[in-house]
């Protein structure tokens, strides 16, 4: 077996290490970039030109945390009725006209990292918060029983919205998903649900009441 110089052995070893590192990197990238929950694999960016708000969404989808004791099918039926009415908002076409939408796939049971706050107020985040990998869900719906609603929303308040996910770009953060927290009994009123959904979808401003 031929003996090689120290220089040759060093260069060969260095090159072998480089080859291994490149191969390992390629494999890791291929594995880690897989994300079946997203519409496509591009790195997401904030996109304020339409209601989906990030570049990695192409269809309007919402996830629903209905609670263990709730009738999930009834909750979906109530929400879809409200959504159908919300789609008549005059801003719908401009905001969501280019997004794919199907009632059959609009609602998904369970949110990927549900995070209910102790109490909702102006700056509350109700979800995973800051992320560079936003979920496919534009709206995260939390359905609350009366006890939880009284505690989180306040006694008697039917619903509220908060930020669920944000992205940071250029040292400021921008919300890309909205949490809708709703009392279960609120869902029976389709018109009220439609208004709440219009707020969560950014078709109308959040409720305001001028100071006396």
């Amino acid at each position: 077996m031929a003996r090689h110089s120290l220089r040759t052995r060093l260069l060969t070893t260095l090159t072998a290490c480089l080859t291994s590192a490149v191969a390992a990197g390629a494999v890791a990238t291929a594995v880690l970039d897989r994300d079946p929950g997203h519409d496509h694999g591009d790195h997401a960016h904030v996109d304020t030109t339409n209601g989906l708000l990030v570049t990695n969404r192409s269809s309007l989808r919402m996830c629903v945390e209905a609670g263990a004791d709730a009738d999930g099918q009834a909750v979906h039926t109530d929400l879809l009725a409200g959504l159908e009415q919300a789609r008549r908002d005059p801003n719908w076409t401009g905001a969501y006209g280019r997004a794919r939408f199907s009632p059959a796939t609009a609602l998904t049971s369970g949110c990927p990292a549900a995070n209910l706050p102790d109490r909702v107020e102006r700056t509350t985040v109700a979800g995973p918060g800051l992320t560079d990998d936003p979920s496919p869900y534009r709206v995260w719906i939390y359905v609350l029983d009366d006890a939880a609603a009284d505690r989180i929303l306040g006694v008697g308040r039917p619903a509220d919205v908060a930020t669920a996910e944000l992205m940071r770009e250029a040292n400021s953060t921008w919300p890309v998903s909205t949490a809708l927290l709703a009392r279960r009994s609120h869902l029976a009123d389709t018109t009220a649900v439609a208004l709440t959904l219009r707020t969560a979808l950014g078709l109308v401003r959040a409720h305001q009441e001028p100071a006396p």
């Binding site: 031929a2 003996r3 090689h4 110089s5 040759t8 260069l11 060969t12 090159t15 480089l18 080859t19 490149v22 904030v46 304020t48 030109t49 339409n50 209601g51 708000l53 005059p90 801003n91 401009g94 905001a95 107020e121 102006r122 700056t123 800051l130 306040g154 509220d160 919205v161 930020t163 944000l166 940071r168 770009e169 250029a170 040292n171 400021s172 953060t173 921008w174 919300p175 909205t178 950014g202 078709l203 109308v204 401003r205 959040a206 409720h207 305001q208 009441e209 001028p210 100071a211």
Partner: protein, 241 residues
């Protein structure tokens, strides 16, 4: 000393691998250069800056702001509010955001601190300024270091054809942005630049800007004032348009 193996050849795959690395390095596209400041394409800004309401009190299209301190022993609500109000509205023409764009930016301080208002009234206040020791949960690590802006409640603006924010929150740490001196003024104006759609664009120093100035910890020493530069004002006007 002679090399007994002088003249021996490397295995063929070794030089081939280095050639492949060189070719890959040449072919992989480099990232885009930092967009030059100003950034008129930014649409991450407060909704009301597009519009004005005439009058001698805060109107529906003006920008009301409230101020809140998490440690009133360090800085009281009232002293923080007075300082922010002075910085934003009382330091003279060419030094304040207030009045820009023919009063499309029309800043009004509330009389109380943010949490003193019930939710429905608080919802009418477009901007909240929060003083505290640490905002790393909102602004990122390390603890107690970063000031930042968080936009909230994106709303479709049919006239502009984009989403902008109904509300914005400015988080200031006592160690820098929360100081009641010219350092604090610089950070307040910088963060309000973010409220009004400006980016940092650190690494691109022209035109001079408070957004990437050494005054707020960035690398450009060609604007060392605590107030926005002429190009900053122009950039916000571009966002309004």
């Amino acid at each position: 000393m002679t090399d007994r193996n002088a003249g021996e050849r490397l295995p063929a795959w070794v030089p081939a691998m280095w050639v492949a690395v060189l070719v890959a390095a040449l072919l992989v596209p480099t990232g885009p250069a930092h967009a030059s400041h100003p950034n008129p394409s930014s649409t991450r800004h407060l909704h009301n800056m597009h519009y004005a309401t005439a009058g001698s009190s805060a109107g529906a299209n003006d920008e009301q702001f409230c101020v809140e301190s998490t440690d009133t022993a360090k800085v009281s609500h009232s002293s923080a509010r007075a300082f922010v109000k002075q910085t934003l509205t009382e330091m003279g023409a060419g030094k304040v955001w207030d009045g820009l764009g023919n009063w499309r930016i029309d800043l009004w301080a509330t009389s109380g601190n943010c949490s003193s208002y019930p939710a429905s009234t608080r919802n009418t206040i477009e901007i909240e300024v929060h003083y505290g020791w640490d905002w790393s949960a909102r602004c990122g690590a390390p603890v107690g270091y970063y000031n930042c802006v968080e936009h909230d409640n994106p709303v479709w603006d049919a006239a502009q054809g984009h989403y902008d924010s109904q509300w914005a929150y400015v988080f200031l740490v006592f160690s820098s942005g929360g100081r009641l001196d010219n350092v604090g003024r610089g950070f307040i104006n910088h963060e309000f630049g973010h409220v009004f759609g400006l980016t940092d664009d650190n690494g691109t120093c022209n035109p001079p800007s408070l957004m990437h100035s050494t005054v707020v910890g960035y690398g450009c020493g060609n604007w060392t004032n605590w107030y926005p530069s002429p190009s900053d004002f122009q950039s916000v006007l571009n966002v309004m348009a």
